[in-house]
Amino acid sequence: MSARRSPVVQRWYRYWVTFATLLNKEVLRFSRIWMQTILPSAITTTLYFVIFGRLIGARIGAMDGFAYVDFIVPGLVLMAVITNAYSNVVSSFYSSKFSRFVEELLVSPAPPWVILAGFVAGGVARGVVVGIVVMLVAMLFTNVTPYNLAVTLLVFVLTAVLFALGGFINAVFANSFDDISIVPTFVLTPLTYLGGVFYSIDMLPPFWQWASKLNPVLYMVNAFRYGLLGTADIPLSIAFIIIIGFIVVLVLISLTLLKRGVGIKQ
């Protein structure tokens, strides 16, 4: 770094180096254990396509004007993104707490927002990699191509950001490895399955349609379905407002926790 550059530029360059170091470390981490991090989602999605798409889906018929196997593609891709973005951050940050190497970051001059951005970017990277793998698997079974590429990519990335943040907060409060599996098992999985991955909420009675709209995952799945297929149960603008709103709230919570050192400082 040239000494002639202004202190402000030097400071931002240092932030960039810290962020890149964290992201590189996270990508190397999940790449080294790809059989645990990338392969399972590809196998699970293949099974979903074979069983729900080909075998059962053929008897279900069309949904919202699409073959059932095509209809479930957006939900399955997004489900993989949600699960992987979340679990990457929760397991990585909790491990760093558990083995105390989070102290390497706490003693460094990296501000809390750079640390948060590094971990979230790691989660997004894994979500994106797994999402692409699942999309490639989907293309073996379907003829889906993006209807609106910009919306598809935006929802893809924003959803990964949102759940990476969720994983971070979970890791901050976790006191054992059990604590990092409770939320995915008892909160994320039900929300995802009830978030319109496998069905259109138009099929539900009015009360359950209303209840489904309390589920934030529904908005993400539908926005992503719009991007891929051009159809959704929810207006796109509302979906984006909800996704971005959640991201803002989770960022504020995460930064407050990091600044106070909750779960990581005595």
Partner: protein, 312 residues
């Protein structure tokens, strides 16, 4: 300039335990400073607060005139810390641990690699650079923690029990390296249970106990205040009976070994002359305890009796 200024530092843990009770401490730039105290005295809490690993309850910390509350980035950039317990990702290769740490301090990867190579060679770890951390011995892990703490070239290096569990040869090599760093201008603060380490390395010493600083002084001046010293005397011939010499406390350890307690101002020559007059010939002699250790025990004992008196 002061490398470290701590004022009225207090720490009360959630359990209600008050680990620091208003600590004041100043360490000059370029000093080699020891922080001594028994287990639970507050040493690690003090270091934890200075290095941002523990939140303080009250008080202030300044490092090279940067306030920890208002300029945390400047404070952290000046500090290197070697913690007491290992805090690595055990599955990472050795070199990557140091390179990543450089990255966290904003040092670009190419420069980080060059510094890592220099430090790993200096600390005799280069051959193990590709080994996973978990495969290193305890001594290697300690040396790696020093390399990691130095990669951003801190002006103040804080070491919490740096040579715990390290064999004598490696400990001596680490001492030499720390002396070299200090001579190059790095201010060093260390806590240690090996008081010989403090006496050998440090110019200034602070004694902390029960969350309070009991004494701060030059190591040599502090040693001059030692009230008693115990010497072990090896005798040429077995003793018939314990010699009685006025003013000197003598104890027989076995037939050819005596322990003699000398108070400040008493002369060893007087003791040898008195023993010689009674036909006792001394062939060799050594200090029973490290002198600083003896002083430390006296100070802690005095501090505790003072605390008990205050409580009463």
């Amino acid at each position: 300039m002061h490398a470290l200024v701590v004022e009225q530092l207090r720490k009360v843990y959630r359990t209600g335990f008050e680990a620091l009770k208003g600590v004041d401490l100043r360490v000059e730039e370029g000093d080699f400073f020891a922080l001594l105290g028994p287990n639970g005295a507050g040493k690690s809490t003090l270091i934890g607060i200075v290095t941002s690993l523990v939140n303080k309850t009250a008080g202030s910390v300044r490092v090279f005139e940067h306030d920890l509350d208002h300029e945390p980035e400047a404070v952290k950039a000046s500090l290197g810390v070697v913690p007491q317990e290992f805090n690595f990702n055990l599955f990472l290769p050795v070199a990557e641990v140091v390179i990543n740490q450089a990255g966290y301090f904003g040092i670009p990867r190419r420069e980080a690699k060059a510094r890592t190579e220099f430090l790993l060679k200096k600390l005799d770890l280069w051959e193990r650079r590709r080994s996973e951390m978990r495969l290193l011995s305890g001594g290697m892990k300690r040396r790696l923690m020093i390399a990691r703490a130095l990669v951003h070239r801190p002006r103040l290096l804080i070491l919490d029990e740096p040579t715990a569990g390290v064999d004598i040869e490696i400990r001596r090599a680490m001492w030499d390296y720390l002396r070299e760093l200090n001579a190059e201008g790095t201010t060093i603060i260390l806590t240690t249970h090996y008081l010989e380490e403090a006496e050998s390395l440090c110019r200034n010493v602070a004694v902390i106990d029960h969350g309070r600083i009991e004494a701060v002084a030059e190591t040599q001046a502090l040693l001059a205040g030692l009230d008693t010293e115990t010497f072990v005397l090896n005798l040429r011939r077995p003793l018939g009976q314990l010699p009685q010499i006025a003013g000197f406390g003598l104890t027989a350890v076995d037939a050819t070994t005596l322990e003699a307690q000398l108070r400040r101002g008493q002369s060893l020559n007087e003791l040898f002359a008195a023993l010689g007059a009674q036909g006792v010939e001394v062939v060799s002699m050594r200090n029973k305890q490290n002198r600083l250790e003896q002083l430390f025990l006296e100070m802690v004992a005095r501090g505790r009796s003072g605390t008990a008196a205050r409580a009463a």
